[in-house]
């Protein structure tokens, strides 16, 4: 009864391989930007700042692959969901690339000033955001909805840290106007990292949709054990 469908499955695997390559590039860009900020290393920040071109190229290529697969194979059920999810994840990864570039830009501006404070929460935000992105992509590869749900649960921690960073820096700015400019850049960076977490969340939601056809968006975070 089993019939091989090598042509379509090959194309689908090719699509997902390229998407993972893109995910790897986006992850690396976020890592460079955060590390460049923490270590005040301009060469890392330069790499991140100018590093999104391959991501942009993949963005276009992956959209074309999705479009072609939909048009030529009229996929159904799990295959249809995989392609629709891939197209959406593609957009999220491209935005992650942009946000990494924005983070690097803000970090370069920040480095033109003396440090406002020792960075604690922002590096932690960077770690959480990178972890969410990595887990979301792992969940995609392994079709692991449990891992995807854990990504959704991480998002609250990022949101809380972003609020904390904002409040703390507001105090610095009120006390010393000279810190306004660099503080604003740090606030922007925390905002970018929080947004990267949002995109990882979107990816995790798409993984759940792809695997179990459940739409969990905009309904709050399901329990980790659900």
């Amino acid at each position: 009864m089993e019939r091989a469908v090598p042509h379509f499955q090959d194309e689908l695997e090719g699509l997902q391989t390229r998407l993972l390559e893109m995910g790897g590039l986006a992850e690396e860009l976020v890592r460079l930007a955060v590390q460049g900020l923490v270590t005040r290393d301009v060469s890392l920040l330069d790499k991140a700042h100018h590093g999104d071109e391959p991501i942009n190229q993949l963005h276009i290529e992956i959209d074309n692959r999705c479009f072609k697969l939909l048009a030529l194979h009229q996929p159904m059920a799990t295959d249809l969901r995989a392609i629709v999810a891939s197209a959406k994840i593609n957009t999220d990864l491209e935005r992650v690339g942009d946000l990494a570039v924005n983070t690097a830009e803000a970090a370069k501006r920040y480095n033109n000033h003396p440090p406002v404070k020792r960075l604690v929460d922002i590096p932690q935000m960077g770690e959480i955001a990178q972890g969410m992105l990595r887990d979301a992509l792992d969940a995609f590869v392994r079709r692991d909805t449990g891992l995807a749900r854990r990504v959704l649960n991480e998002d609250d921690r990022l949101d809380a840290l972003k609020t904390k960073v904002f409040r703390e820096l507001l105090n610095y700015m009120l006390k010393d106007p000279a810190t306004v400019e660099p503080s604003l850049d740090l606030i922007l960076i925390s905002r970018h990292l929080e947004r990267i977490g949002d995109h990882a969340t979107n990816i995790a939601e798409d993984v759940i949709f792809m695997v179990s056809a459940l739409d969990v968006r905009h309904a709050g975070q399901p329990d980790a054990d659900a």
Binding site: M1, E2, R3, V5, F8, Q74, P75, M76, A77, T78, D79, L80, R81, L152, D155, D159, D198, T201, A213, L214, D215, V216, R217, H218, A219, G220, Q221, P222, D223, A226
Partner: protein, 277 residues
């Protein structure tokens, strides 16, 4: 994620939200209950229970030999004409069993019209093809009434404009797609409630196929339509509900969008994604 989105307490809410939002079913037009069908000793259908709702399109899909056409033909007792066949179980139409002794099979087939894979116009004129059922059933009182019913049927079958100036030419001179729409007009002329279509577009080119599909879409306002098709995209395009058959059994029956985006059964998933068939 939107921070202001309401927080759901559990997964139960999410599951409920993802379930069918379609209105509850009314009384079925066709109700098969525990239907078994045999060709001699060979069992072709096993315990089929299925409710078909009025004024929607229900598609039957499944690999060759799965029983979908056999089941379709049990709905107007078309299998009766095949020697050595027998039926166990029930089919109710509007609540009345069609296999009860004393059922007038000819009257049943007037209510449950059928269109076949290969168009089969009679070797007569276009007009006489559509008028045939009306004449043999004594359903047209006068010539003008007959002409009006023929026109109405040809219009319903989206064929009138193409043939109105050559109604008395041979039906066999029409294109394949026109012949199939003529057969639909012929079926509609005697005003059935239900239209069974067995692969009605499988021998047609894409344009003619599209015409038939548009026609099916329009006709469901007035008729209950059941269509057997090998073409899954066609089932997806034209039907509201889809039933998947395999090896003489009904595997899954659900809203068409669910069958083709998120079927419940693994074997349905494998079939609609082309992993076997």
């Amino acid at each position: 994620m939107n921070d202001t989105a309401p927080r759901a307490p559990s997964l139960a809410g999410l599951v409920a939200r993802n379930q069918s939002a379609s209105p509850p079913d009314g009384p079925p037009k066709i109700d098969a209950r525990g239907l078994n069908f045999y060709y001699g000793e060979t069992k072709a259908l096993t315990d089929i229970s299925l409710e078909i709702q009025p004024n929607i399109v229900t598609a039957f899909i499944g690999p060759s030999g799965c029983g979908k056409s056999t089941f379709l033909r049990t709905l107007n007792r078309m299998n009766d004409i095949i020697p050595g066949t027998r039926v166990k179980g029930q089919v109710l139409i509007d609540g009345a069993s069609i296999y009860d002794p004393g059922v007038d099979v000819v009257a049943l087939r007037r209510r449950v019209g059928m269109v076949f894979q290969k168009s089969n116009p009679f070797p007569k004129s276009i007009f006489d093809n559509v008028a045939y059922g009306l004449r043999v059933n004594g359903m047209a009182g006068s010539r003008s009434e007959l002409a009006a019913r023929v026109e109405e049927s040809l219009r319903q079958a989206a064929l009138w404009d193409e043939v109105k100036d050559r109604l008395h030419e041979s039906a066999l001179a029409m294109s394949g797609g026109q012949q199939q729409r003529l057969c639909i007009a012929r079926a509609l002329a005697i005003r059935p409630d239900i239209l069974l279509m067995d692969e009605p577009a499988s021998a047609l080119d894409p344009i003619a196929t599209q015409r038939i599909e548009e026609l099916v879409y329009d006709l469901k306002k007035s008729y209950t339509i059941v269509i057997v098709t090998h073409n899954m995209q066609q089932a997806a395009r034209v039907s509201d509900r889809t039933a998947f058959f395999l090896l003489g059994k009904l595997v899954e029956y659900d809203r068409t969008d669910r069958i083709f985006t998120a079927p419940t059964e693994k074997v349905t998933e494998d079939y609609v994604t082309g992993r076997f068939g």
